[in-house]
C-alpha cells in the first residue's frame, strides 16, 4: 500500500482498512521487498481457527505495513482495535557479525524493549540473505551464525520468531521456497495475533457487557466497543462476523426497550427517550454515517439516530454479503420496530414525524437496493420489496390526511404550519443525495408542497404497490391498498375511480366471508354509489347495510331511511321500478297453507301465511306484498300433489325455508377436487423403476383464472315476473323481526300453482325474492259432481225388486237443503220409493259443506252417498235400461244405463201322439236365486175358437231352484182343421222364493212363441219281421223291414208347395224316405232310401219293403225311418242350396237342420227350414232338394219299438268290443 514513509492518516473507518503491521530495522530493505510482500501475502488463504467453538474460516490476509513508531503501540486502556498493530517485524540484511554486534543488536534490543514495555508479544525478526552481498564480503561468517546469534539473543526458546528470507528479489526456486516459508510464518503469526488480541478484546467486551446492570453503564460506550470488533471483522472482510456484532447490539438494545416497556428501565435508556426532533430518515449511501456515530459516541443520539446508524451499518454489511433482500426485510422490521419502540418508551413525537421518517427510510432502502441490483433481479424479488412500497404508500397517505392534502379544499393554515414543522424536522438535504433528482428527501418535500404533487406521488406509489402485490399474487394485499386508494379518490370527489377498487375489494371479502371488511367496504361503496347517482346500486347497498348487524343501530336506521325517503320521493314519477333482492330487506322463513295439504277445489279459498323476517332496523310500511304464481295445467294434478305432499309435506303443512345466514358463509367457488394419479415409468429393458411421480390430471381446471368470475354484488339482474296469477296483500307494516302475512285467494282454474317470486313494494322499490326454494305449490282441482248408480248385488235381475245405490260425489258442489235428484225412468222399469226413502249422507272427511235433507252434519260433504230403492221392470235377457237423472248442479240430465239380466230361459216343444198334440214349456232358472212360480198360463192370443189348450200341470205355486227347470204341458185340441201355425203366450208369475212380502204385484213372466205345422200328416210305421220260419231274428241272418207311410189327412194348406203335383183330379206329393241306423245295429241291405209319390188323400198308404240284417243280439231298437219332402230343382227357394245339394241315392247323407234352440226373438217361431248338405263334390248340376218335414207333421208310430235278436247258433267268434 502506501509507502512506509507516508504519513499515517489518523483513523480510516472504511473497509480500505487493513490490519497494521509495523516494520522496524532496515527500512530500505523493507521498501525493496514490500511490493512483492504485499502482493504475495493475500494470495493464499489461511485457516483461521476461532475461539468459543466458532467455525474455522479460510481467510485471505492483507496488511497495512507501517514504519514502527512507539506511538503506534496502544497505551493501557486504549481499546481501539483498528489502530492496533497486530504484528511487529524487524527487518535486517545483516550478514556480518561485526556489523551485527555494532548496530543491529543494539537496535534490536531497543525495539524489543519498547515492545516489552507495551507488553506486545507479537513480533517477528526477518533476516534477508543476499548472495550478492555474501560474495562481496569474504570474511563472512556462515550465514546461519547471524541468524543463530539473533535467535540466541532475542528469541529465547522461540526460535521460529526469526525467519530467513533468501534472495527475495530473485526468481529462483530457492527464493520461492524461502518466500513461501516466510509468508506462511507471517500469516500464522498474524492470525495468532488476531486470535489472541481479538480474544482478549472480546473478553474485555464481554466483561463490560456483564456490567450492564451496574449503574452508570452506558449502552453507547458499549456500543463503541463492540462496534470496534465489528470494524475489525469488517477489516478482515469477515462481514458475517461484523454483522453479528451489530445484530447483537441490536438485540441488546431491543431487549432493553422491551424491558423498559415492562417497567424495567435502565438509566441510560432515558436518554433515548428525548423527544424526536429530527426525522430525516435512514442514510444508507455512506458506509459509515460519521455524524450519527459521533452522536452515539457523545451519547447524544436519539433512538432514531441510534437505530438509523445501526441499520445503516447492517445494511452496508448485508450488501457486502450480497443479501440486498434481507436489507429490505430487515428494513421493514426496523421501521415497524422503531415505531413500536418509540411508543414503548413513550417518546414524544410530533404528529407526522414518524410518517416522514418511515416514508423517507422506505424510499432510501428501496433506492439503495435498486442501486446495487439490476432490474431483472429487482423484478424477481418484488416479494421482498413490496412491503416497503406499501408501507411508504401507507405513510404518505397518513401524511396527506394529516396535512390536509387530501381534502377537497386543500390544506388550511393549521395544516400548512404542520407541513412547515414537518419539513423543518427533515433538515437540509444531505450532500450525497443533493444531486439526485428522485431522492426520497426531494420526493417527500415535493409531495408535501402541494395538493397536486401529493396526489401524483401518492397515486404513483399506490399503483406501484397494487401492481406489485398483484404481480406476485398477493391479491388480498392489493385489495387492501386499493381500498385506501378508493378512500382517497372519494375524498378527492372522484367516486367513479373509487368504485372499481371498492367493488374489487368487496368481491374478495365476500368470496372469503369476512364480515367486518364487507360491512366497512360496503359503507364506502354506498357513499360512492350515492355520489355516482347509481340509484339502484345505492339502494341495494343501503338495504344490505340496513340489515347488517355489524353496524350500529343508528347507522342501520340511516340507511333504512335512505331507502324509505327515496321510495317516498319517487312516487310522483310512476313507471320507474327499482328491483332489489329481497334477502337483504327481509327473509322468508316459512310458509303455511290453509288447508294444510295445499289442495283446494275450484272456488275454494286458500290462504297462505308466510313469515317474513324483516331485516330492517325499524318498521317499514310496505304497500304491497305479492307472491307471483306460475300456473300450469297438469293432468292428474290432484294425485301429483298428494304424492308431493307425502314427500315434502312437513308436519302441519308448513314449509320452512333455509335461513340465508348472510353474509357468512359465502358459497365458495366450487373448484373441482384434485385428481391425482400415481405415475411409474419403468425402463423398457429390465423393468426397473426409472421415475415415479404424481400427476394431476385436472390441472387445467384447477389453474383456471378465477378473477373473471361474475361479480357477487352487481345489481343482481333480478327479473320481475309479470304473471297473471298473483297473491297480494296490501298495506303491511313490517316490524323488525318476524312478521306474519296472510294471503287469501279464491281458487279459480284447476291446475298446479307454483309460488315463484315474492315481491315487496315500497314505493317504486321492489324487493324481490326471485325464486322460492324449496319449491312451493298448491293445487286447485275441479272435480265436477258425479253421480254413480250401481246395484248392490253383482248384477241386476229383471223382474224382481232390487236395491240400487246412488253415489253422488259432490266434488266442489255444495249440497244445499232441498236439493233433489229427479229420476225419469223408462216404462219398463219401475222405481219403488219407500216411505223411509231419504238420502243418508255419509260424511267423508273432506271439506265442510252444508248437508242434505235428512241430517245436517254441519260439514259440507264432497262425497256423500244417497241410497234409493228401485224396482227394475221386466225385460228381455240382458238389456240396458236408461235412467235420466236431473241433478241440481247441472242443467243437463245425466243418463245412466242399467243392465238387467233375465233370470229365466224358456223353451217350448211340440209333442205328438198320433194326431194328438201337446205343447211343453220348459222354464229354466239361470240365476242364483230360488223363485216361486205361480199361475202358469198358456193362451192363444188370437183366441182361435177352434183351439183349446188343456193344461196338464201340477198345482201352483211351484218352487224353482237355482239352475233348475220346471216343465209345463198343455194338450192342444181343435175342432176344425187347425191353422198351419199357432201363436201362444206363456205367462207365469214369478217372485223370489225368499223375498218376503212385496207391496206391489209383480208383473208375470211371459214367453211368446209360435207353433207351426203341428198337424200330423203322415204316420210312419216300421216293422221288422224275422225270416220266415223263425220265431226270432238272428244275428247275421236277413230280416225284412216293412215300412208303411200313411197319409192321415186330405189336402191341406201346408201341402201347397212345389212338390205338389196335380193329375187326374187328385194330388200327389213327392216324399223321400230313408232308413238310417245310427247305432249300427242293423245293416241295411240293398236300397236304404227311395222317393215315393204320395197321393194327398187321407189313408193313402205307401209300403216299402227292404232287408236288414241285425249285427248284434239283444233287444235292438228299430232303424230310423226318415221322411223328406222331395222338391224339384227349379225351385227358386235358394239357389245357393241348389248347388250344394246334389243327392245320390246311394250314400245319401242328410243333415237335418231343425233349429232346436229356443228362438230368442218373436215368441217361439219354429222355423222348419232344413237342408241337406251333400258332400259337395258334384257341382253345377241342377239337383232336386230335400226338405225335412216338420216334426209335427210326421208321427213315427214305431219309435221306441224293439226287436229281439238272438245270437246265431254257429257263432264261433265272440266279439268283445271295449270302448
Amino acid at each position: 500500500m502506501d509507502a512506509p514513509e507516508a504519513p499515517l492518516p489518523p483513523v480510516i473507518y472504511t473497509m480500505e482498512n487493513k490490519p497494521i503491521v509495523t516494520c522496524a530495522g532496515d527500512q530500505n530493505l523493507f521498501t525493496s521487498i514490500y511490493p512483492t510482500l504485499s502482493q504475495q501475502l493475500p494470495r493464499e488463504p489461511m485457516e483461521w481457527r476461532r475461539s468459543y467453538g466458532r467455525a474455522p474460516k479460510m481467510i485471505h490476509l492483507e496488511s497495512n505495513f507501517v514504519q514502527f513508531k512507539e506511538e503506534l503501540l496502544p497505551k493501557d486502556g486504549n481499546k481501539a482495535l483498528l489502530t492496533f498493530p497486530f504484528l511487529h517485524i524487524y527487518w535486517t540484511e545483516c550478514c556480518d557479525t561485526e556489523v551485527y554486534k555494532a548496530t543491529v543488536k543494539d537496535d534490536l534490543t531497543k525495539w524489543q524493549n519498547v515492545l516489552k514495555a507495551h507488553s506486545s508479544v507479537d513480533w517477528l525478526i526477518v533476516v534477508v540473505e543476499n548472495d550478492a552481498k555474501k560474495k562481496n564480503k569474504t570474511n563472512i561468517l556462515p550465514r546461519t551464525s547471524i541468524v543463530d546469534k539473533i535467535r540466541n539473543d532475542f528469541c529465547n526458546k522461540q526460535s521460529d520468531r526469526c525467519v530467513v528470507l533468501s534472495d527475495p528479489l530473485k526468481d529462483s526456486s530457492r527464493t520461492q521456497e524461502s518466500w513461501n516459508a516466510f509468508l506462511t510464518k507471517l500469516r500464522t503469526s498474524l492470525l495468532m495475533s488476531f486470535t489472541k488480541n481479538l480474544g482478549k478484546f472480546e473478553d474485555d467486551m464481554r466483561t463490560l457487557r456483564e456490567k450492564r446492570t451496574e449503574p452508570g453503564w452506558s449502552f453507547c460506550d458499549y456500543f463503541m466497543v463492540q462496534e470496534e470488533l465489528a470494524f475489525v471483522f469488517e477489516m478482515l472482510q469477515q462481514f458475517e462476523d461484523a454483522l453479528v456484532q451489530y445484530d447483537e447490539l441490536d438485540a441488546l438494545f431491543s431487549q432493553y426497550v422491551v424491558n423498559f416497556g415492562a417497567g424495567d428501565g435502565a438509566n441510560w435508556l432515558t436518554f433515548f427517550c428525548q423527544p424526536v426532533k429530527s426525522w430525516n430518515g435512514l442514510i444508507l449511501r455512506k458506509p459509515i454515517d460519521m455524524e450519527k456515530r459521533e452522536l452515539i459516541q457523545r451519547q447524544e443520539a436519539t433512538l432514531l439516530d441510534l437505530r438509523s446508524y445501526l441499520f445503516s451499518r447492517q445494511c452496508t454489511l448485508l450488501l457486502f454479503l450480497q443479501r440486498p433482500w434481507e436489507v429490505a426485510q430487515r428494513a421493514l422490521e426496523l421501521l415497524h420496530g422503531c415505531v413500536q419502540e418509540l411508543k414503548l418508551l413513550e417518546v414524544s413525537v410530533p404528529p407526522g414525524a414518524l410518517d416522514c421518517w418511515v416514508f423517507l427510510s422506505c424510499l432510501e432502502v428501496l433506492q439503495r437496493i435498486e442501486g446495487c441490483c439490476d432490474r431483472a433481479q429487482i423484478d424477481s424479488n418484488i416479494a421482498h420489496t413490496v412491503g416497503l412500497w406499501s408501507y411508504a404508500t401507507e405513510k404518505l397517505k397518513s401524511l396527506g390526511y394529516l396535512c390536509g392534502l387530501v381534502s377537497e379544499k386543500g390544506p388550511n393554515s393549521e395544516d400548512l404550519n404542520r407541513i412547515v414543522d414537518l419539513l423543518a424536522g427533515l433538515g437540509a438535504e444531505r450532500p450525497e443525495t443533493a444531486n439526485t433528482a428522485q431522492s426520497p428527501y426531494k420526493k417527500l418535500k415535493e409531495a408535501l408542497s402541494s395538493v397536486e404533487a401529493f396526489e401524483k406521488h401518492y397515486l404513483d406509489l399506490s399503483h406501484a404497490a397494487i401492481e406489485m402485490h398483484t404481480s406476485i399474487g398477493r391479491l388480498r394485499s392489493a385489495k387492501f391498498v386499493g381500498k385506501d386508494l378508493a378512500e382517497f379518490y372519494m375524498r378527492k370527489k372522484s367516486p367513479q375511480k373509487a368504485e372499481v377498487y371498492l367493488q374489487g375489494a368487496l368481491k374478495n371479502y365476500l368470496a372469503e366471508g369476512w364480515a367486518l371488511p364487507i360491512t366497512h367496504t360496503r359503507k364506502q361503496l354506498a357513499e360512492c354509489q350515492k355520489h355516482l347517482g347509481q340509484t339502484e346500486n345505492y339502494l341495494q347497498t343501503s338495504s344490505l347495510l340496513a340489515s347488517d348487524h355489524h353496524l350500529t343501530e343508528d347507522e342501520r336506521k340511516h340507511f333504512c331511511r335512505e331507502i324509505l325517503s327515496f321510495a317516498s320521493r319517487q312516487t310522483d314519477s310512476p313507471g320507474q321500478k327499482i328491483v332489489l333482492p329481497l334477502h337483504c330487506f327481509a327473509q322468508l322463513r316459512d310458509l303455511h297453507f290453509t288447508p294444510s295439504n295445499a289442495v283446494v277445489h275450484v272456488g275454494g279459498v286458500l290462504s297462505v301465511e308466510i313469515t317474513l323476517c324483516s331485516q330492517m332496523p325499524m318498521p317499514v310500511h310496505v304497500e304491497q306484498v305479492a307472491i307471483n304464481v306460475h300456473f300450469s295445467i297438469e293432468k292428474n294434478n290432484y294425485r301429483k300433489t298428494a304424492e308431493w305432499l307425502t314427500k315434502h309435506k312437513t308436519s302441519n303443512g308448513t314449509i320452512n325455508f333455509p335461513t340465508e345466514t348472510s353474509p357468512l358463509p359465502v358459497p365458495q367457488n366450487n373448484l373441482p377436487a384434485l385428481e391425482l394419479y400415481e405415475m411409474f415409468e419403468r425402463s423398457p429393458s429390465d423393468n426397473s423403476l426409472n421415475t415415479t411421480g404424481i400427476i394431476c390430471k385436472n390441472v387445467h381446471m384447477l389453474l383456471r383464472r378465477q378473477e373473471s368470475s361474475t361479480s357477487l354484488e352487481t345489481s343482481s339482474g333480478v327479473a320481475l315476473e309479470d304473471g297473471a296469477h298473483v297473491l297480494k296483500c296490501s298495506g303491511v307494516t313490517l316490524e323488525p323481526g318476524a312478521n306474519r302475512i296472510t294471503f287469501r285467494t279464491q281458487a279459480r282454474e284447476p291446475g298446479t300453482y307454483t309460488l315463484r317470486q315474492l315481491c315487496a313494494s315500497v314505493g317504486p322499490v321492489r324487493f324481490v325474492l326471485p325464486h322460492l326454494y324449496p319449491p312451493v305449490q298448491y293445487d286447485v282441482y275441479s272435480q265436477e259432481p258425479q253421480l254413480r248408480v250401481e246395484p248392490l248385488a253383482d248384477s241386476l235381475l229383471a223382474g224382481i225388486p232390487q236395491k240400487v245405490k246412488f253415489t253422488v260425489t259432490t266434488g266442489h258442489y255444495t249440497v244445499k237443503n232441498g236439493d233433489s235428484l229427479q229420476l225419469s225412468n223408462a216404462e219398463a222399469m219401475l222405481i219403488l220409493c219407500h216411505a223411509e226413502n231419504r238420502a243418508v249422507i255419509y260424511s267423508n272427511t273432506r271439506a265442510p259443506v252444508t248437508g242434505g235433507e235428512s241430517s245436517v252434519l254441519g260439514m259440507t260433504e264432497s262425497h256423500g252417498k244417497h241410497k234409493d230403492t228401485q224396482k227394475a221392470g221386466q225385460c228381455m235377457a240382458t238389456t240396458d235400461h236408461k235412467v235420466s237423472i236431473d241433478c241440481p248442479w247441472s242443467i243437463y240430465s245425466t243418463v245412466i244405463a242399467l243392465t238387467f239380466s233375465v233370470p229365466f230361459r224358456t223353451t217350448h216343444s211340440l209333442l205328438s201322439a198320433g194326431t194328438r198334440k201337446y205343447i211343453q214349456v220348459c222354464v229354466q232358472n239361470l240365476s242364483e236365486l230360488d223363485f216361486e212360480l205361480s199361475d202358469g198360463h198358456l193362451v192363444d192370443p188370437d183366441s182361435n175358437a177352434d183351439l183349446r189348450l188343456v193344461p196338464l200341470n201340477a198345482k201352483s205355486p211351484q218352487h224353482i231352484h237355482s239352475k233348475q227347470s220346471v216343465f209345463f204341458v198343455w194338450e192342444l185340441k181343435w175342432t176344425r182343421e187347425p191353422p198351419p201355425s199357432l201363436r201362444c203366450r206363456f205367462s207365469v208369475g214369478s217372485s223370489p222364493a225368499s223375498g218376503g212380502r212385496l207391496s206391489i204385484p209383480l208383473k208375470p213372466y211371459t214367453y211368446e212363441f209360435r207353433v207351426e205345422n203341428f198337424f200330423t200328416l203322415y204316420n210312419v210305421r216300421a216293422e221288422i219281421l224275422p225270416p220266415s220260419g223263425t220265431e226270432h231274428c238272428r244275428t247275421g241272418s236277413l230280416c225284412s223291414l216293412e215300412v208303411s207311410i200313411t197319409r192321415l189327412s186330405d189336402l191341406l194348406e201346408v201341402d201347397k208347395d212345389e212338390a205338389l203335383t196335380e193329375s187326374d183330379e187328385y194330388f200327389s206329393t213327392k216324399l223321400m224316405y230313408e232308413v238310417v241306423d245310427n247305432s249300427s245295429n242293423w245293416a241295411v241291405c240293398g236300397k236304404s232310401s227311395g222317393v215315393i209319390s204320395m197321393p194327398v188323400a187321407a189313408r193313402a198308404t205307401h209300403r216299402v219293403h227292404m232287408e236288414v240284417m241285425p249285427l248284434f243280439a239283444g233287444y235292438l231298437p228299430l232303424p230310423d225311418v226318415r221322411l223328406f219332402k222331395y222338391l224339384p230343382h227349379h225351385s227358386a227357394h235358394s239357389s245357393q242350396l241348389d248347388a250344394d245339394s246334389w243327392i245320390e241315392s246311394d250314400g245319401l247323407s242328410v243333415d237335418k237342420h231343425v233349429d232346436e234352440q229356443p228362438d230368442g226373438g218373436g215368441g217361439g217361431r219354429c222355423r222348419g227350414s232344413a237342408h241337406l248338405a251333400s258332400g259337395g263334390e258334384h257341382r253345377g248340376l241342377p239337383m232336386p232338394r230335400l226338405q225335412a218335414l216338420p216334426p209335427g207333421q210326421v208321427f213315427n208310430a214305431s219309435v221306441g219299438t224293439q226287436v229281439l235278436v238272438i245270437p246265431s247258433k254257429d257263432d264261433h267268434v265272440l266279439e268283445v268290443s271295449v270302448t
Binding site: 368470496a511 366471508g513 369476512w514 358463509p665
Partner: protein, 137 residues
C-alpha cells in the same frame, strides 16, 4: 387499543372460522372502530401466510406481516387451518402451542365438521383462558 389481541382461525376457503378478541383486564372495550381493521389486517396477512407456510417446516410462522404498530403472527395446523394473531409486541408461540393442543382435540370431535365455523361455547371459554394465560398475562 394497545394491549389487546385479535385471534382468528381461517379455514380452507379463506373464511374466518373462529374469531376472538382479547382485551386487557380493566380496559374497557375501546371504540369498536378497530374491529374491522383487525379483520382487514388478518385478511391481508393471508397472502403472507400462504407464502410463508411453504418456506418453513414449522407450524409456527412467527411474524408474517406488519401494519403500523401491528404485528401479525401465524400458525398453520397440520390440516392447514391458518391461525392468526394480531398483536403489538412479543412472540406468541406459547399461545399457539396451547391453542393447537386445544384445537386438535376439538377437531377430532366427530360432530364437528372440519373447517366449518366453530360454534362451541366450551371452545370459546378455553381459548379465552389460553389468551389470558399467554397473551394478556
Amino acid at each position: 387499543m394497545s394491549g389487546s389481541f385479535y385471534f382468528v382461525i381461517v379455514g380452507h376457503h379463506d373464511h374466518p372460522v373462529f374469531e376472538m378478541e382479547f382485551l386487557p383486564a380493566g380496559k374497557p372495550e375501546s371504540k369498536d372502530h378497530h374491529h374491522h381493521l383487525n379483520q382487514f389486517l388478518a385478511h391481508a396477512a393471508l397472502d403472507h401466510i400462504d407464502e410463508n407456510m411453504w418456506l418453513s417446516d414449522n407450524m409456527y410462522l412467527k411474524t408474517v406481516d406488519k401494519f403500523n404498530e401491528w404485528l401479525v403472527s401465524a400458525f398453520v395446523t397440520a390440516e392447514h387451518m391458518r391461525c392468526i394473531i394480531l398483536h403489538e409486541t412479543r412472540k406468541k408461540k406459547n399461545f399457539f402451542t396451547g391453542f393447537y393442543d386445544l384445537y386438535r382435540k376439538f377437531a377430532m370431535n366427530p360432530f364437528y365438521e372440519a373447517i366449518s365455523p366453530i360454534p362451541s361455547n366450551a371452545f370459546d371459554r378455553k381459548v379465552q383462558f389460553l389468551g389470558k394465560k399467554h397473551l394478556l398475562s
